[in-house]
């Protein structure tokens, strides 16, 4: 049986797709057969970040409608043969997905895959609901700002009350915090919430902090998940996230301010 992971947030643009691509690649690189599904119907983003946009023939909606089977729609990743992408449709609207159809596709994938990563669209409406409904684990991507934290909290309430696990009175979805686009200098100067602030408000199990990094944009421009850029801070932070998710102990990195460090070094204020 596969483990179904939803990458969700409530707020848009916080790094869900970046995270989905990175952790799916990270899990696959470690030898776990992984599928990553784009639930953002109408926008289609994941295939660009995975660099497979030219190879999209059939998509998630085609599979749900029975217009193609899974094997026709799944795209094998060019860098890792354990990773498959199920792209979203650009031409449909978001009503093309339905709960029963999504359930069917996930069930079929579960037979063959170890991990299924669901890249949720923004918001708390139908698309986000469908992406989280069948999840076993949730990566809640949050930026260190008040509105993002509030939306994450809202999403956590939905995970706890509207998911399949909640409805069937099963063990609840395991919820993890992924604090992304963390700019320690701006935290230091008080422009952004600190890790401690966010932890205090959400009180969630922290999987990792991803620093704000140029490498993310570079990676998405070249269609390669940032986790494969092993020299980059964001790539390393994502590698740590995957390791922690798999149960390894890793100290937190990339949370100290550079300015703060020099200030301490030279004793100034």
């Amino acid at each position: 049986m596969a483990r179904i992971i939803v990458v969700t947030s409530g707020k848009g643009g916080v790094g869900k797709t970046t995270t989905s691509a990175a952790i799916a690649m990270g899990l696959a690189k470690r030898g776990h057969k992984t599928a990553v599904i784009d639930f953002d119907v109408g926008l289609r983003n994941l295939d660009l970040i995975m660099g497979c946009e030219r190879r999209v023939v059939y998509d998630f909606v085609n599979v749900i409608n029975g217009e193609a089977n899974l094997n026709q729609a799944l795209i094998r990743d060019k860098n890792c043969n354990q990773l498959y992408i199920l792209p979203a449709s650009q031409t449909r609207d978001k009503d093309a997905l339905n709960l029963e159809g999504v359930g069917r596709v996930l069930e079929e994938l579960s037979k063959d895959f170890k991990y299924i990563v669901c890249d949720s669209p923004a918001g708390i409406e139908k698309g986000a609901y469908l992406a989280m409904y069948y999840a076993d684990d949730a990566f809640v991507v949050t930026n260190p700002e008040v509105s993002s934290v509030r939306d994450s909290d809202r999403m956590l309430g939905i995970l706890a009350s509207k998911s399949r696990r909640a409805e069937l009175n099963m063990e609840p979805i395991k919820e993890y915090l992924l604090l992304s686009r963390y700019d320690s200098d701006r935290v230091e100067s008080g422009e952004m919430l600190s890790l401690e602030d966010v932890q205090e408000i959400l009180s969630l199990h922290l999987l990792g902090v991803i620093p704000e990094s140029k490498s993310v944009l570079n990676a998405s421009n070249s269609g390669i998940p940032v986790i494969l850029d092993e020299k980059s801070d964001a790539g390393q932070a994502y590698a740590d996230v995957v390791a922690r998710y798999l149960g390894e102990k890793k100290p937190l990195r990339f949370i100290d301010s550079k300015k703060g460090f020099f200030r301490k070094l030279f004793g100034g204020k």
Binding site: D153, L156, I158, I201, S203
Partner: protein, 241 residues
Amino acid sequence: MNQSSILDFRSATSFVPILVLYSNDMEMISKRLQEKIASAPGFFRNSPVLFDLSELNENDMEIDVAALISRLRQLSLFPVGIRGGDPLQEKQALALAVPVDSGRSRSNPVLPEVQKKDDAVPEFQAVIRDAVHAPAMMITQPVRSGQRVYAASDLVILAQVSAGAEIMAEGNIHIYNTLRGRALAGVQGDIEARLFCLDLQAELVSIAGIYKTIEDLKEISRKKPVQVYLRDQALIIQELS
């Protein structure tokens, strides 16, 4: 993931506020309801509600069920059940698509014998009513932004209550964690109700409709256990030592 499923019936506990009527004066009922709704519009607007006529029937007070239902609907409530009604009242309710909720009708022997005595004095009845108060509702998971909890009893919460969450109880509220959302105790007018929490950072606290908002709470020191209660119609917030 059931391949061919079209629908499912699931057993679940859901929390629907129960409107217990002690008066059959429709205007008074309306007025009081409007006040209640104004005190927590987010909670009551479009809320389902069960109405309970057992007190009225006990005291032979007649009520026009059809008028009551239409009044509730006018006030943006959705009556979803009738309790403690007599067969005629139940029939009238059904005709207006409000089903009978037999969860705790008068025929169920929940009340102690004493109350059935004809000569029971009113004060005595009040005591009895407390004695049959439902057991406290217990919540172990965080109450997150956008979630609402209503307890027709005391409410005990072992996790945090987030900003943007709303919890209400007819009795006391105990939060063994941080309160950042809105918490309303004694929502049916119990001025003896109290609220306890380990860290008060609330958006609003209220006892029996008397409230303070985040603006009034600025002075309260954080990370200290406090209790909130009413004294002479004033809301007192006191550190517990």
